[in-house]
């Protein structure tokens, strides 16, 4: 971990700091996580997917966009300084994008996502910090970035044809690296009774299939342009365990334990391996990853299908080739969840299958795959 200095007053601060001790400027949550070892090669920067806060802007209020004082609060309305961690979107390719948002009721965004796109491989990672454990926002971002970086590195170094069979292994390795990144990132916080931790779901989308790995209750769906959505993951949750043991789903969902997750990433996770599922893709549609901030408002497949379809149809180009860009669809879904109450952080990441404009299965040179260069 490098010695970070406050962007406002230049004083150094320890990695665990949230606010600068000298001037009170908010410093936490961004630099530490994106500087995790996985980004050393900066292989992802070529896609502009460096996480929240990568664009330097003058501090502004998150409520009224007014000027913010050195104490981190708006000079007009007293609102907090807009934290780039609160809301950000990412769009490594037109068919690959996502939005990560604080929602309405939570004071902090503990969700995170990390995306990658090359013409033949897309990577989506969504993590949801466990809000009962402090600093889980750092854990979730560190985990998502580490996993994404590993999968992107594999995609760049291995021929696509060979890998097509091997993404399960890469995903298991990515989870192990995410676990390590959380441990490295949280430092002494690992000793807490409730150390920072997060859920994990990642999908690798190729020309022929989607491979999904998960721990916890962030979900992946395949939403074909026609027909119902298909869940790609099954929650690691108390509800699902009870249902598997024979309890009626309605009873399990009504329980106060319904939201408890049974597996996660973090110092106290017990190194549980992720479950991995491969699903062939032979029709056009969307791979959709989301945190429970979205699916809590549409928990069953029918409702989820309807919500996604409406979001797709509402975007520009809706109803033709599967809707607008991935980030436009994600944005509509996040806004819909916000309108339902935004009780939790909301993250939605999508990959259009097939990626619009992608050559069917050629191994393009790496440089040519950079959208900025095209």
């Amino acid at each position: 971990m490098t010695d970070d200095v406050c962007g406002r007053c230049g004083e150094p601060y320890p990695p665990s700091a949230r606010y600068c001790e000298s001037c009170g400027h908010r410093v936490a949550g961004i630099a530490g996580a994106t500087d995790s070892p996985g980004t050393a090669e900066h292989g992802t920067a070529e896609h502009g997917t460096t996480g929240p806060g990568s664009g330097a802007t003058a501090p502004a209020c998150r409520d009224c966009a007014g000027p913010v004082a050195a104490d981190g609060y708006c000079l007009q309305c007293g609102g907090r300084e807009a934290d780039p961690r609160d809301h950000w979107s990412d769009e490594p390719a037109p068919g690959t994008g996502g939005v990560c948002d604080r929602g309405v009721r939570h004071t902090r965004n503990e969700d995170a996502m990390a995306l990658y796109a090359a013409p033949d491989v897309r990577v989506l990672v969504v993590c949801d910090g466990v809000s009962s454990a402090p600093d889980s926002d750092r854990a979730s971002l560190a985990a998502a970035v580490a996993a994404r970086d590993h999968l992107a590195a594999v995609a760049r170094t291995e021929p696509a044809a060979e890998l097509d069979a091997g993404w399960s292994e890469a995903l298991v390795a990515a989870v192990a690296l995410a676990e390590q990144a959380v441990l490295d990132g949280v430092g002494e916080m690992a000793e807490r009774r409730e150390p920072p931790s997060c859920t994990f779901v990642a999908s690798v989308v190729t020309a022929t299939r989607v491979t999904t790995a998960w721990l916890g209750d962030s979900r992946a769906y395949w939403v074909p342009d026609d027909g119902p959505a298909q869940p790609l993951s099954t929650d690691d949750s108390w509800v699902e365990e009870m249902v598997a043991q024979g309890m009626a789903r309605a009873d399990a969902v009504a329980s106060p334990h319904a939201h408890a997750i049974t597996r996660w990433i973090g110092p106290d996770s017990g190194d549980a391996p992720p479950r991995v599922v491969e699903t062939p893709l032979d029709t056009p549609g969307w791979v959709v990853l989301c945190s429970d901030g979205l699916w809590n408002y549409c928990p069953d497949v029918e409702a989820f299908t309807a919500v996604v379809r409406e979001a797709v149809l509402g975007t520009e180009g809706g109803g033709t080739a599967g809707g607008g860009t991935a980030v436009a669809v994600a944005d509509r879904l996040v806004r819909w969840a916000t309108e339902q109450g935004g009780a939790d952080n909301i993250t939605v990441a999508l990959a259009r299958h097939p990626e619009p404009g992608a050559a069917p299965s050629d191994n393009l040179p790496l440089d040519a795959s950079d959208p900025k260069e095209l």
Binding site: D71, G78, T107
Partner: protein
């Protein structure tokens, strides 16, 4: 170099739909240096001095032991005034007279040095008592003397009287107090039991000083020594308390609550549309507590915002800043809690007004109101742990039940004890931490 700190005590959690935020802000200063030493952060002018005026009652009622004691006290005061400090002595009756520098001197005030000190002591020894009492003339003369030193920012006076302001209508005193407010600070002292607490309190409150009762003339000198030592230790020129509230918000009240209760709400001067400044006078090495209450527009559950910035500004430079926050929550466990400091000082402020109301009612012959209000005071003194107030209340009322505030007025209560209770009513105790 003076160093300031600000500490905020509050419960920032608000129930949905609520708007009012209360906080106690503790401001502390260390390294203040001495008066005129320009130790303040951002103080520019070098060699700048302070100015001190001692006003002594020379009305006819002072004749005898009182005047002798007052003259002695004035010489003690002269010994306390640090060399280099501008000073003057004023004798006051129904008119005010400059005792030193002598009326025929060309300079209205002179810098203290050994020769001036001896000359002033000589002038004090020649003071004699005659005439009535019109304190407005004393206050105005002091202001005129201070005005001859436009570059000196720390101006402090002591006013000593033994009697009622009988030679002029009350409104004239009030008008004079108003006209000199902001031009200097003044501690007011009454000796004996024939002066009016409300008159001296009006002067001291407006002029950011203290009011005090001196029971017997032989205690004047020690009191003057304390007052001047404190004044000479104030190395930070008059500072402002600044309170910022967000757009759409309003200040409900701003009140100093320690060491004494002083309502500052109506002394606001605008700094900008969202910020007001309240005078706090000069600072030494000390700590003061302020109770700030603001009303902000309610926001949705989960929102955190700043409800007030409470700052101390010296020479328009902010030297300490406390952040008062508001976070709306639907967790009753968080929002129902009342902060200990806020509760303590809310009780102490009410204690001060209960004592003053009770004594005023007693003086007006309204036994029922006096009994109720002083009973309430007994209860509040107990609840907030103000043992000194309880001791003073006991001399004025018989306490039947401290826990319910059941009292009877003492028929034999001495006027001096009632005045002592009244004078000290605004003194607060701090929260035990």
């Amino acid at each position: 170099m003076a160093v300031f700190t600000a500490e905020v005590f509050q419960n920032e959690y608000l129930a949905p739909g609520t708007t009012d935020v209360h906080a106690i802000v503790t401001l502390a200063c260390t390294g203040a240096g001495g008066a005129g030493s320009t130790a303040a952060a951002g103080a520019g002018a070098s060699g700048e001095a302070a100015a001190e005026i001692v006003m002594v009652d020379t009305s006819g009622s002072m004749t005898g032991a009182s005047l002798a004691a007052a003259k002695h006290a004035a010489t003690v005061a002269l010994d306390q005034i640090v060399d280099g400090t501008w000073f003057a002595i004023v004798g006051g009756s129904h008119v005010a007279q400059r005792t030193f520098p002598y009326p025929n001197a060309t300079m209205a005030m002179v810098p203290m040095e050994p020769g001036a000190r001896e000359a002033a002591k000589q002038a004090v020894s020649l003071m004699s008592a005659s005439g009535g009492t019109a304190m407005s003339t004393w206050l105005v003369l002091a202001a005129q003397l201070f005005d001859t030193l436009p570059d000196v920012r720390q101006k402090h006076a002591i006013l000593l009287t033994d009697g009622k302001n009988e030679s002029e209508p009350r409104e004239r005193l009030s008008r004079a107090v108003e006209s000199v407010t902001g031009r200097y600070q003044c501690d007011a002292r009454g000796v004996g039991a024939r002066w009016q607490v409300d008159e001296l309190r009006e002067i001291a409150t407006a002029l950011l000083g203290t009011v005090g009762l001196i029971a017997t003339p032989d205690e004047i000198a020690a009191d003057f020594e304390r007052i001047l030592a404190r004044s000479m230790a104030r190395g930070v020129p008059p500072a402002d308390l600044r309170v910022w509230v967000p757009a759409g918000g309003e200040v409900l009240f701003v009140r100093q609550v320690s060491p004494t209760v002083e309502d500052l709400t109506h002394r606001r001067t605008p700094v900008n549309p969202l910020t007001g400044a309240y005078p706090t006078g000069a600072w030494g090495d000390e700590s003061r507590d302020y109770h700030v209450a603001v009303r902000v527009p309610t926001r949705s559950v989960g929102t955190e915002q700043l409800a007030a910035r409470v700052q101390l500004a010296v020479d328009d430079v902010v030297v300490a800043s406390g952040l008062v926050k508001a976070t709306w929550s639907d967790d009753d466990g968080l929002t129902a809690r009342i902060n200990r400091e806020v509760a303590h000082y809310t009780g102490q402020a009410e204690l001060a007004s209960a004592i003053q109301d009770g004594l005023a009612a007693k003086a007006a012959g309204d036994v029922a109101t006096a009994t109720t209000r002083l009973g309430r005071a007994v209860l509040l003194a107990k609840e907030t742990g103000n043992a000194e107030a309880t001791t003073r209340l006991r001399r004025v009322v018989e306490i039947d039940d401290e826990d319910t505030g059941t009292v009877r007025l003492r028929r034999d209560a001495a006027r001096l004890d009632e005045m002592a209770l009244d004078t000290a009513s605004t003194k607060t105790t701090r929260v035990r931490r």
